[in-house]
């Protein structure tokens, strides 16, 4: 596999590195260079089931107002996007991105026969195999379709590997702090053990060579520190580490972050507003920092949740597990605006929204655009959504 550089990338590298520096990068023989993709996909999972109806709000709809006696948001509250639809007021920091077409919102995303279990629905979103026993994650399968000798291709900012990243080959890592990548004190000679791959033959040579690459990368990561800035809460903590990883130019193909607390069965209004506020402020900062680091062209950020919530609020001023919801996509080169169709409130499926866009169409667009790869072997026969220009 040879590195593929399109004109835009060539220009980008030329500007940032100078023409001369470009050639060694292209000609570099080591296999890690083969992993270079057009963009890193950053996935943010809103854990618990985000209330899509109070995120992308059909504020003018009679059925919305009657279904949500205490939770409904009115015209005066929302950030208007289009006729009858607006964003939760806490999402106002995203408005400038919307105007610059750096934010696309896909309405009504879901899958047939919705499952209301957090675990199972997360499994469906992360494996993209709703109709069978899951094998590997959708990202893991995508990586396996494009083999690479890189010792690290995707990082989850988490203690436990998300299902999306489970892969035939564990070239994915979890990261809670950079220090875990530091070579333990007292084992400095070990680096020498692995640096002598040339003296070894057969399997030991292969292990030493793989180990040498892995240790070099681990060393690089161990010296990083989280990016500074007014990041907020646990999502901010993970984003600042993610930003450092991206700035370090490690050729990572995907990152996964989780942001919990969206399972709002009771007294939803305040907590949901705070969560969305933290999400929006962090994402606005994230996108600004990516711009500043000249990475905005090379990163696509996707915010999803395992399901939305029921249309009718419950007796505890909260909402119960539901079905379809909006997906947010941030990046440059987006078509932008509102994609898909807001599900009809007067044609419910047992009290739940009927999805209008299959989530796999978003993944297919990401595979095509970000990783330049045929979605079919990973996702089956799915038409990519027109997310990118």
């Amino acid at each position: 596999m040879t590195p593929r550089l399109d004109r835009r990338e060539l220009l980008g590298l030329g500007v940032s590195l100078g023409g001369l520096a470009l050639f060694p990068r292209c000609l570099r023989a080591e296999p890690a260079a083969a992993g270079r993709v057009r963009a890193t996909v950053v996935l943010i999972h809103l854990v618990g089931g985000n209330d899509g109806l109070n995120t992308l709000v059909p504020y003018a709809h009679k059925r919305y107002r009657s279904a949500r006696p205490t939770l409904a948001l009115g015209r005066e509250a929302v950030v208007p996007l289009s006729e009858g639809l607006g964003l939760h007021p806490s999402l106002r920091p995203l408005a400038p991105l919307w105007e610059k077409r750096q934010l696309a919102i896909v309405a009504g995303v879901g899958y047939p026969q919705p499952d209301f279990s957090h675990f199972r629905s997360t499994e469906i979103w992360q494996t993209a195999q709703p109709e069978r026993a899951p094998t590997f994650g959708w990202v893991g399968r995508a990586l396996a379709e494009r083999p690479s000798a890189s010792p690290l291709r995707a990082v989850a900012l988490a203690r436990e590997q998300p299902l999306a990243f489970t892969a035939p080959e564990p070239t994915v890592a979890t990261l809670t702090d950079f220090g875990r990548f530091r070579l333990p004190a007292g084992l400095e000679e070990v680096a020498r053990l692995y640096a002598t791959s040339g003296e070894r033959t057969g399997a030991a040579g292969a292990v030493a060579a793989a180990g040498e690459r892995a240790l070099a990368l681990a060393h690089k990561i161990s010296r990083l520190s989280p990016a500074d800035g007014p990041w907020q809460g646990p999502l901010g903590e993970d984003l600042r580490k993610a930003l450092s990883l991206l700035e370090a130019d490690l050729d990572l193909e995907a990152l996964h972050l989780s942001f919990g607390g969206f399972d709002t069965h009771a007294a939803q209004a305040r907590v949901h507003g705070e969560l969305l506020g933290a999400l929006a402020q962090n994402l606005a900062l994230w996108q600004a920092r990516l711009e500043r680091a000249k990475l905005a062209e090379r990163v696509v950020t996707v915010v999803y949740s395992e399901f939305g919530r029921r249309v009718d609020e419950n007796a505890s001023a909260g909402t119960d597990h539901g079905s379809a919801g909006p997906v947010f996509v941030l990046g440059n080169g987006l078509t932008g605006g509102l994609l898909g169709t807001q599900p009809a409130l007067d044609d419910l499926d047992d009290g739940n929204l009927r999805f209008t866009t299959d989530f796999r169409r978003i993944y297919a667009a990401l595979l095509r655009h970000a990783w330049d790869q045929d979605p079919a072997p990973v996702l089956g026969d799915v038409t990519p959504l027109e997310l990118f220009r």
Binding site: P151, L152, P168, P170, S197, E199, A203
Partner: protein, 398 residues
């Protein structure tokens, strides 16, 4: 293929493959008068029962089943039975991510341990009725008129035949044969009214097969013996075992009605098994790595820091990443996992006396370790040698 390895190198190689490593329980094999006797002593361990469970064993408590199994692996009773249980766990991979009841997974592992060396057909039949497997691959949803094909498909694709040996039609027919095989609470139940007793054609056979008859047909298919023998050879011998060897194993399989113990006897006694090219040709998985190091270091239990790092190392028992089991090869060694291995190497070597450490290195590497390793070990202070040996590229290989 070069002169076959001779004892003690041949026995050390055998133990790395059939007992995780030398350690508790293997002294008798290491002192065998010859290689063949060592093989017989290894094979005899499949009949050794495990140690009694601790009185406070509670399979529901998180982490308990992994902890207890790891302690058994370190204790070394029934070395080959445990090794086979680990093999079958990766083969019939069932995960706690879906089957949340610890006791069911523990029972499945005990099934692998007690029947893993027997007839493959008996094992498949027992697995087909195993409640963890029934739950994992949706047996309870497989009913007459509403077949669920999960188990039928994986049985042929991953457990017994491999892709290409069957058609989609066979998958549907096999699912019909298993319809009604479900579970209630923690027990297997057959529900007659859910069973499709109609005529079926499966892999060229016709009849009103039930699940038991269908298992016989699947295991009797010509693709089954080579498929399972190849997988055993990949686990016990080499990433790409030579085809003539597979053919010899298939002969042993057919002569003994698919008895795994006899296939392994044929494998361990085959001159190919001791070919020098196969020595240290398999990358140790994370569990194999920590268990081998802990056994050599003489630990009765894994240090908690090491046990707690298995998820970062990439392999948690009872949590295979998918029904396809775990990966293999150098893919185990990534930027994240290798540093964790080195950390574990250091913790596992802590508190081991200098003389015990020297003995452990001798047991694993023999009197003449590979030159690159020997150079580093001889330059290092004695108290650091064991950690370095565990951290070395050579030790990542069995």
């Amino acid at each position: 293929m070069g002169q076959p390895l001779a004892p003690p190198a041949a026995i050390a190689h055998l133990l790395r493959r059939a007992a995780f490593s030398a350690g508790a329980g293997t002294a008798e094999m290491e002192s065998a008068p010859g290689y063949e006797q060592a093989v017989e002593r290894v094979l005899a361990t499949v009949d050794e029962p495990p140690d009694l469970l601790p009185a406070d064993f509670d399979a529901y408590r998180p982490g308990t089943i992994q902890h207890t199994w790891l302690a058994r692996l370190l204790a070394g009773r029934g070395a080959l039975a445990e090794r086979l249980a680990f093999f079958w766990h990766g083969h019939f991979a069932t995960s706690q991510a879906k089957v949340t009841d610890g006791p069911l997974l523990w029972r499945q592992m005990e099934l692998f341990r007690s029947q893993g060396a027997g007839r493959f057909e008996d094992l498949v039949l027992a697995v087909s009725r195993d409640v963890a497997m029934v739950r994992f691959l949706d047996g309870n949803a497989n009913r007459k008129g509403h077949p669920n094909e999960n188990y039928a498909r994986e049985l042929m694709e991953l457990f017994a035949l491999g892709r290409g040996a069957y058609s989609e039609h066979d998958v549907r027919e096999l699912a019909r044969a298993f319809s009604g095989w479900g579970s209630r609470h923690h027990e297997f139940v057959f529900t007659e009214s859910f069973h499709d007793a109609g005529a079926k054609t499966l892999l060229g056979h016709s009849g009103s097969f039930d699940g038991e008859a269908a298992v016989k047909i699947v295991v009797g298919h010509p693709a089954c013996a080579p498929f399972v023998c190849r997988k055993l050879a990949r686990f016990f011998l080499a990433p790409e075992p030579p085809e003539p060897l597979i053919e010899r194993l298939v002969v042993a399989w057919r002569a003994t009605d698919g008895r795994v113990r006899e296939v392994l006897r044929a494998l361990f006694l085959d001159p190919e098994f001791r070919a020098p090219a196969h020595a240290r040709s398999l990358v140790r998985s994370p569990v194999e790595f920590v268990v081998a190091a802990a056994r050599l270091a003489g630990h009765a239990e894994l240090p908690p820091a090491v046990e707690g790092s298995l998820d970062r190392l990439g392999q948690v028992l009872f949590r295979p990443p998918s029904v396809k089991g775990w990966t293999s090869g150098t893919a185990w060694l990534t930027a994240g996992t290798l540093v964790e291995r080195l950390r574990a190497a250091q913790v596992l070597a802590e508190g081991v006396s200098v003389s015990a450490a020297e003995a452990a290195i001798l047991r694993e590497f023999g009197a003449t370790p590979p030159p690159a390793l020997r150079a580093v070990l001889s330059a290092a202070p004695v108290e650091r040698r064991l950690a370095l040996a565990f951290a070395s590229p050579e030790f990542q290989l069995a």
